[in-house]
Symmetry: C2
């Protein structure tokens, strides 16, 4: 197949300014892995880092590692802050606005609890009928805890603007829809929300590491996101919470744990928040998983996020273009917007037998995923995908739809 790669795709790969980044990952060569939006590939530096943390930091230095070599930025106490600083650059935040740890679900709880407590008499949380379920579940659980005192109002994420009404206290949306790959106008929606006094909570699960995010440029209030998709931090990697600096005094810390205390080892009886977003770190961080994420983020250190975005769009444009003939022949409907402004870093199609089609694709080594009820999802990670991979994927889809053995 490689020998038949069309000249234009060969050229795109040859001109790719990010092509050297693929070498920093363990990318299985026997498959085309298009699921980095579910679990990013392993950065090659991670296993050695894990061995170092386990054998030296834990095995030899033991508890001393909590404070050891702080001046060389190697202490575990400072690790959440160092990871936060690396992440902040990717999402348009200041380092002191990001707390790293816990899961996206738990961070969503923290953000919603703070936002709804700041929303005063406005007791509507606006979210997305099609939002990723855990966001909805966490909102439901929080509301139940508070005695069902708000309305959890849903709308389609294509109709948010008209649902921004003065009774809404906060909104919770995922910038890129996990099924369709549709990217919302975070800037425009946030601006309108702020005019109306609505607090914004953005889920960046499919944004962080996929393209440049500019939380402060948008004026966002809160955001959460995931470490294991486009950030390649490993299975269940620690998640993050963004709280805009202007809210640090007013946004209450309800999950007030000792690692967010101003002086954890003072062992004071009353909680006093640490400076900045560190206060939203709760319990003892899972250092092994956090160290893997820290190492994974080093891959981004020399990456121009705008170049990353250009490559992402080139990959998804190419995929859409090569798939186009198949949509005429088979019951395959593109659901990802053609407009670049409205596209994340994945491409999705509806197909009536999507589950069966994806099963066969995976058997052929084209690893995307199926999402209920009828979505075929293909994620593109510009750090390690080539246009050649795009063509292999399309040839695989063709073969499956044609019923080739």
């Amino acid at each position: 197949m490689t020998s038949q790669l069309p000249t234009d795709l060969q050229q795109l790969d040859a001109q790719d300014t990010l092509r050297h980044k693929r070498d920093e990952f363990s990318v299985p060569e026997d498959i085309v892995y298009l699921d980095g939006n579910s679990l990013g590939c392993l950065p090659k530096a991670v296993p050695a880092r894990l061995a170092q943390v386990a054998q030296q930091e834990w095995g030899e230095h033991l508890i001393r590692s909590w404070t050891r070599n702080a001046e060389a930025a190697q202490d575990w106490m400072g690790l959440p802050d160092r990871v936060a600083a690396k992440l902040a650059r990717l999402i348009g935040a200041n380092a002191n606005e990001v707390a790293v740890g816990d899961s996206t679900s738990v961070n969503t709880f923290k953000a919603l609890a703070a936002a709804m407590s700041m929303a005063g008499e406005r007791r509507v949380l606006l979210t997305d009928t099609e939002n990723f379920p855990t966001d909805l579940y966490m909102a439901q659980g929080l509301n139940k805890l508070l005695g069902d005192t708000w309305e959890l109002r849903s709308c389609l994420n294509t109709e948010i603007m008209e649902h921004l009404t003065p009774d809404v206290g906060a909104l919770l949306f995922t910038e890129v829809d996990y099924r369709t790959g549709r990217k919302l106008d975070m800037k425009g929606l946030t601006a309108r929300a702020r005019e109306l006094g609505i607090l914004t909570v953005w889920d960046l699960a499919h944004s962080a590491g996929a393209f440049p995010v500019d939380l402060n440029g948008c004026g966002a209030d809160f955001a959460v996101g995931c470490g294991y998709k486009y950030l390649n931090g490993g299975p269940g990697a620690p998640a993050f919470l963004f709280v805009a600096e202007r809210h640090h005094d007013a946004a209450p810390v309800f999950l007030s744990g000792w690692m967010g205390h101003a002086d954890p080892f003072e062992m004071a009886r009353a909680y006093a928040p640490a400076a900045g977003a560190r206060r939203y770190v709760v319990g003892t961080p899972q250092v092994l998983s956090l160290s893997a994420l820290d190492e994974a983020l080093n891959v981004f250190s020399d990456v121009d996020m705008h170049a990353l975005r250009r490559k992402s769009l080139s990959l998804t444009d190419t995929f859409i273009r090569l798939m186009e003939p198949l949509t005429g022949q088979y019951p395959l409907t593109l659901v990802t917007p053609l407009n670049h402004e409205e596209r994340g870093s994945q491409v999705s199609y509806r197909h009536p037998d999507a589950q069966q089609v994806m099963k066969k694709l995976i058997e052929r080594g084209i690893v995307g995923d199926f999402r209920t009820p009828d979505i075929l999802r293909f994620g593109f990670t510009p750090l390690y995908h080539r246009h050649a991979d795009v063509e292999r994927a399309v040839l695989g889809v063709r073969a499956v739809l044609e019923g080739q053995p």
Copy 2:
């Protein structure tokens, strides 16, 4: 020093039925590490397990690892449940009563939120003036979230029984005091609490893995605990939550995340709890850290917890006995009870210059820890300590107190 080891200690070590377990740990030989109650030593099998999880499960099999080899109990989806089952045996619980994940702090929040919601009109949470701070902070944060609708009442943990009054809805105590090493009468207190309709939330941070715990034998309602102390799961290892089976229908899930859903991949819009304690798992588990804990728990598979307890008491008895002459000569006051029933697996002394003394001890390679305001804390882990280590520790304390260079 070893050549001078008194015969009785030599005999105790020679007769130790658990002495082979030390070989399963990386125990630094240049120090006497008496801080396994803060961070347990590295089980030797962990680095290879981490390498396997990173390189094969993540690097090669990628998302397929979530469900791959489930029949061989190797899928990541089932990992929290498998770890829960290993842990359950150590704490006198059934496997379906334990949820593994998150931090002790977050699990304390889950337990308190459930317990106080079940406490009806009884709006007092009784806890310990001297409890580990994060327990207090999490209770404070939850109460703030709920509009300060309860009274957070404190008493000394030596005076709990007389504070069990009918206005108390739930109690939150740590079975073994992290400073004094005093072990509470969990059975008696739980029995009395149940008579009065008070729900019990036990923090087992210094109990799980240190001696046999019998939650169901005591009739406990809720418990939380830590994976990185006596369970040796690694820095910030995932924590656990116990919810007695009789409460599974009534105890609400407020941190309702997708990993606690009955069918996570159904992507349903409404939360429906999984069977048993799995419902208290929230977001995607931090698989690297969780795998280390899973491996660490294998060390316990052939351990008789009653034999472990006997050895623990022999170690702490020996330490107290050898330290006794020093308490006459120096301002050193034993604060850990002599009575076995009231002792955990640590021994603590007050000393007016405790911080300075511990600093010097650590410089000499006797690694215990200092806890404010004046506590010297020495933790004993019967899986890897010998009576010979006890003597080395006491010789170190003597040398520091005598001002030896």
